[in-house]
Each structure stands twice: as C-alpha cells, then as structure tokens.
Amino acid sequence: MKLEKIDSCRWRLRRQGKMNADGVVYASAGMVAPLEADKVLEQVSNVACLPGITGRSMAMPDAHWGYGFPIGGVAAFGAEEGVISPGGVGYDISCGVRLLRSSLKASECGDRLPRLMDALFSAVPSGIGKSGGVRVDDAGVARVLTEGARWAVDAGFGEPPDLEACEDIGAMPGALPEKVSARALERGGPQLGTLGSGNHFLEVQEVDEVYDEKAAFCFGLFKGQLVVLVHTGSRGLGYQVCDDYIRVMLGASRKYGIALPDRQLACAPLKSAEGKDYFAAMACAANYAKANRQVITHLIRQAFGRVFGGEFLEVVYDVSHNIAKMEIHQVNGSPALLCVHRKGATRAFPAGHEELPPRYKAVGQPVLVPGSMGTCSYVLSGTPHAMSETFGSVCHGAGRVWSRSKASRNVDSTNLRHELEGRGISVRTASMKGLAEEAPAAYKDVCEVVAVCEKAGIASKVARMRPLGVVKG
C-alpha cells in the first residue's frame, strides 16, 4: 500500500478495493516508512471497509500496529447507517489520562521528592492483577458503572469541583449495568483504585515550558509547577466487556451480512440490539475507568498530604483515549450524529464547544499527551480545525516503535533505572521487566508527534512537562 503526500504532515491512502472511504495518515516524512512497515496502512484500509464510515479512516502521528484498528486510529460512523465495533475501542475501555496540579513549584520539593515517590508507590496499588482497598457492594457496583467519577466523589474519594474538570462531568451517559457480565464484574471488581501494569503509570512532573500563557493560565498551569499525570483505565472489567462483546459482534456481523477484513473489526449496526447492548456495556466500563482515576486521585492526595502537609491537588482534566462516543459533527455542511471511535486517540474540542466546562470555554479542551517514560509530556488544546478535519481528535501519546520483546532484548532494566535516576527521575516499579518494556527507546519521539499535530492545525501546544518521578505498574 502506498501513501500519497498531501502536504508535509498529511498522507492520503486512496480508496481502493473494498474501502468505503479514503484513509489519511498524519505524519512527518520521517515517520512514513516505519508506518508502512508496521501494517498501520493495512489497518487504516481495513477500517475504511466498514459500513457507514463517514469522512476518512484516520491515523494520528503516534499510530502503530494494533489489533483490528491501528492504535492512534480515528473513525466515525453515521448513527443511522453506521456500525459500532469493540475492536475500535480496544480492551482497555476508556483508558485515559488525568492531570493534577499543585500550587507548589518543583524547586520547592527539595529532598522531599524521594519521600513523595515512596508515599505514592505505597498509596496507589500498582502491578499485575493488583487488587485495591476499595470494596463496594452490589448496589455500589451499579452506581460505579452508571455514575463513574460522580460515585467516587459521592463516596468520599474527591471533591465536587473535580467533576467539572472531567470529560462528561465524570460519567458517560447510556450505561446499563445489566449489559455487563458477571465475569466482567468478578474480574474488575477487586481492582477499583489500582493503576495496573504495562504502559500504565503515575508520573510526578514539572511544567518546564509554557507555549500559550492564556490557555496555561486558564488550565491553572505555570512554569516550574509540580503536577501529577495518571494513566490508567478500566482494568479487568473493561477487558472482559470487550472480549464478551467481540464474540457477540462476530455473530452480529454474520447476521447483518457485514464482511470483515479482520475478525477483530467485528461490529454491528448502531441501531441494532447488539450495537446498543455493546454501547451500554462500554459506557459502564468507561464509568468504571473514570471512577478508578478518581479513587486514585484521592490516594495521590493522601500521599501528597503526608509529605507536603496541607497541599491540595486540583484536577486539570480527565480524558479517555480508548472510547466510542455519540457526537454531533458537521458533515457536508449539516450537523450529523456520529459514533466517533477513538482507539488510542484523544478528543480535542475547541474553544466555545458546548461540552467544555465553563472555565475552559475560552481556550478549548485540555488535551493530555503523555510521553514515554523519561521523556516530556504535553498539554495541548483543541482547535476548530480538528473539528472539521478529525472529528475533534488528536494523538494520545508517543506511540510504540519497538515490540515489548525487542525492548526487553535491547534494554537492560537496571541500567535504564540508573540512567533515569542519573537524570533526576526517581523510579518506583513493581516490575523491572516491565520497566525495560516501556523504555523510551521503544517509543517515537513525542515532541515530533506533537509537532505534526500542531503543524496540521489539529491541536495547539499549551505547556510541556518533564518527569521528576515515575511509578510504573
């Protein structure tokens, strides 16, 4: 498959074969060859074959080979004629990022940083299959699945103003707990309030560059500030919901005569019973993820309190990057209701959008883009151009270039830890093996990824953060 250059950051995959739309890849010239070698184009093409696709099948600059959809993939489907696909959301439903800000300057931490890292590592359960200390009864579980972060705040894991700074004000609508299997509840129930493993992390960072003073001020960010970035999702509950419904969708695809270029793209019409059931279960998993990040916020605050006394962390924003959402977008000059699948992509709504909290309406939605471990992360803001071109979507991180096996072969975790600590980055991890797999060398350069997004006009840089300490699951 060959890409045609549109401009310095956009490449077209022209409609061919069974594709129902063109594909567009956002990338610099240097990023294209690895994408072509990484099966991303085949996956962009496969997504374009699904019924009811509106606009183009897109890959953000952090895209890499996924399963079904590429990671970094965005595709929208019409509410009337389109489909919903669990493979377009992924197993870690509503995996996302939350940024917390302190009023402290990093330079004020001094020798308290190691103590803070120990306190965070001890307070927030992390690692494989780890259980949390939060136990909820059946009625509580139903509330977690329908009320998300709002349940957590109500249960004492946060403050009401936290919710205003969350996508969907902390709870995705449309959740029906009866659509979630007992097995999903068993798998995820004990994990509420846990970080997990793999690429999930908690990072203490310093805002080291501000690009847009007005937006940074609006987000409560300033140069030198100490902030905390959390990356986690719906844990075992989301994994099981996805697996349960891919099986349902395989049957539905046959039932509705949908030809699948890859079985992982199994889907059903949005209007079908199967499509509605998946949406309702996915929303439950999304709410579990939002509750999870809210409980973790509470645990982080407790750890901060132990080290910094009365210091209180405020939520800058909480946003999912594995989700399918019903949104209204302009299509051929008219508003249309679409199901926008973001699989490793972040919603990025512009200033003035009605779904933004009042405090961010003037500058646009904060878009949180974590870098790889040991590299910088970014806060961006949504742009009007993203609304017209990517259904208000942008990248979600750096994007892998090495498999985990390759990273394990090429990176000595002990050396990596020494190297990070030599650069002033404290590391706390439950798995040295996991540390090697998440080495910075295994990822693209997040600065280049963000630069492509900004050049394409689908996001604007607001601030950059450098890591001071990381807790890896």
């Binding site: 080979w65 079904g68 299959g129 798998r187 079985r263 985990r404």
Partner: protein, 142 residues
C-alpha cells in the same frame, strides 16, 4: 518470555503486543501447545499438585475462533481466579467445540504472572491444515 519456546510453539513479535505461532500433527496438539505457550507468555510454571480440577467447555463457529475463546477462558481462570494449570486432558474436540479437564492449583500465595494479558484477540487469527500438520496464529493484547 525469556525462556526458549518449546517445540511447536513460536513467539511472534507485534509492535504493541505479542503473538503465538502454534504447530502440531493434530488439532488437539495445537490446543495443548496453546496452553503451554500461554504459560510461557505469562512467565508461569505449570501448577504442581494442589488437586484442583477445572473442567472447561468452550465452543465457537470454527477452530480459529475456538482457540481465542479457549485462551480467554484460560486467562480468566489464571488471572482472575489464580488457577495455575498443570496437566491437561482433552476430553472431546471437534470443529468448533472443546472440553478439557485441567488439574492444577489455586494457591492464592503463588507467584503472580510476570505480565498481564488483557485478552487473546481475533486479529490476523489463523488455524489451518498445511501439508500434514495444523498451524495456528493468535495475537494477544498486553
């Protein structure tokens, strides 16, 4: 994944994830080896003793989908219920249907897996007879 893969099992690289290529003279062998491969990916030794018996019964439209359903069933018992599979007896297998008895242990104090696997996926899934042997390919989301 540091140990060498046993005969008939090959680890496949994937940018985000990992896969297994499995091979065997019979369909049953491929399914047996899929359990070995799964334990290899999880960094687990086969469970010894314990006397716990787990009977699994799975079905799917074809052998490829059956492999995914089987692996995800195993993952659930290993990751959510701390079951450590040992010896496996395949009681019945035909196209799209499998029942097996696995002995193992459920010691909650046993070492956790070295990695978490979210699921076996249907991405680029394959199960076919090639020449005189059966070959399968399955990718996992990590």
């Amino acid at each position: 994944m540091d140990s060498p893969a046993p005969r008939g099992i090959k680890l496949l690289e994937h940018t985000a994830d990992v896969g297994l290529a499995l091979r065997g003279p019979e369909v049953e062998t491929v399914f047996r080896r899929s359990l070995e491969g799964l334990l290899l990916l999880l960094g687990l030794e086969p469970g010894r003793g314990g006397g716990k018996e787990l009977r699994l019964q799975v079905s799917a439209p074809d052998n490829a989908a059956l492999l995914v359903v089987w692996l995800n069933e195993l993952l659930f018992h290993i990751q959510a219920r701390q079951f450590r599979p040992g010896a496996i007896t395949i009681l019945h297998i035909k196209a799209g249907s499998l029942s097996a008895m696995i002995t193992g242990s459920t010691d909650s104090g046993s070492s956790p897996p070295a990695r978490e696997i979210k699921a076996a996926t249907y991405h680029r899934l394959r199960f076919a007879k090639v020449g005189g042997s059966y070959r399968a390919r399955v990718y996992f989301d990590l």
